[in-house]
Symmetry: C2
Subunit: 241 residues, 2 copies
Amino acid sequence: MHFTSEQRLDDGILEREFTLGEIPGTLWTPGSAAPAPLILMAHNNGLPKAEPRLVARARYTAARGYAVATIDAAGCGDRPRSAADEQARADLRRAMQAGEPVDEIFESFIGPLVEKAVPEWQTTLDALLELPEIGGPVGYSGGWTALGIRLAVVEPRIAAAGFFAGGYVPRAQREEARQVTIPLLFLLQWDDEGNPRQRALDLFDAFGSKEKTLHANLGGHTGIPSFELEDGCRFLDRHLK
Amino acid sequence: MHFTSEQRLDDGILEREFTLGEIPGTLWTPGSAAPAPLILMAHNNGLPKAEPRLVARARYTAARGYAVATIDAAGCGDRPRSAADEQARADLRRAMQAGEPVDEIFESFIGPLVEKAVPEWQTTLDALLELPEIGGPVGYSGGWTALGIRLAVVEPRIAAAGFFAGGYVPRAQREEARQVTIPLLFLLQWDDEGNPRQRALDLFDAFGSKEKTLHANLGGHTGIPSFELEDGCRFLDRHLK
């Protein structure tokens, strides 16, 4: 892990860019000296790790005493896409404009993206846990629910997760949701344009966790109320601190 | 309004029993001198105002700086029931034991109970707002959602409401849910034995409020996690303080 830049923010948070082999990432650590619990914060795979809403969420969470890390996994964010991915995204745009069903197109490229992303997140987790400023339990908080489900299933170090029901979850991850048993906070926008409400409710129902909470708010995909940021940190506090 | 007993609790909260004509009530006020916003805290109509979970919720909310009041409205709690009500409750028990449908039985007595309760809650509200220790906006927080809907529709002094989707809501209140436009927090137990999940989700969907939040947790009717108490107060803080 090589740190390529660092910036000290007003509230003492250290924001550092890093590379780990081909993986570019950002790490936020709080000003305090004690090792901080770690939050893996992933994003809709189409958006880069520098996207302002992700950065704002990461800084807020770091100010609450967490180390927060994000990466652009293979084919995600600013990393190069395969020709097949580019074709799938072009098909998706065309189908959406034509008002045609898009599930199979999503399925064809989100599934493989999850498969490629998971080992990179695990490699990143291994490297982060070597750092002296990081310690204690690990949480997942992010907009990429499919990745979060897969990570929660294969990665016993993840102790709690906050998911946003805002994107396409491949059949494989909908199937393995019942294998997720860690405490969950599941965030749903009631009128999300691109995400059928009933499918999100079915996914919440499917999780195997004994402790799971759904927060649903009125409004569309990007209309999550700001108080959910605080609620998300309170959820993490209950399980990681 | 006549106070019939008072008790100073450890944390400075004053807990007073009162009567207002035939209406028995309890008022909790915080230790601070400034006028406190008022929370009307109603309960499942079958349970008395002294029920321990209600009292615990009221004391917690008072410790957060609210005046909290509850009453046993006509036919509710410890107050005498009409012969028709007693008959309906006997019919209900018999039908439940036999595994028969109970909606029409609920409809026959919950609807009239709401109609009788609303003016008594309004009379109580009038009297409470005369007290110098109470001031500012009014909220509703309670397990009796049908009463809360009716009060929110007819009572413009109520500025925000927390509902628990845990009981039968008559057709009249399901219909007028769309007339409720104040901010709402709607609490649902995902596996509530006596309350069909889809009906609760439909009710949440029906509310006319622009700002409404659903919190759903795994578990049965009485399994609401303790952190929802804090979440409920944070919701009230956002709208009443």
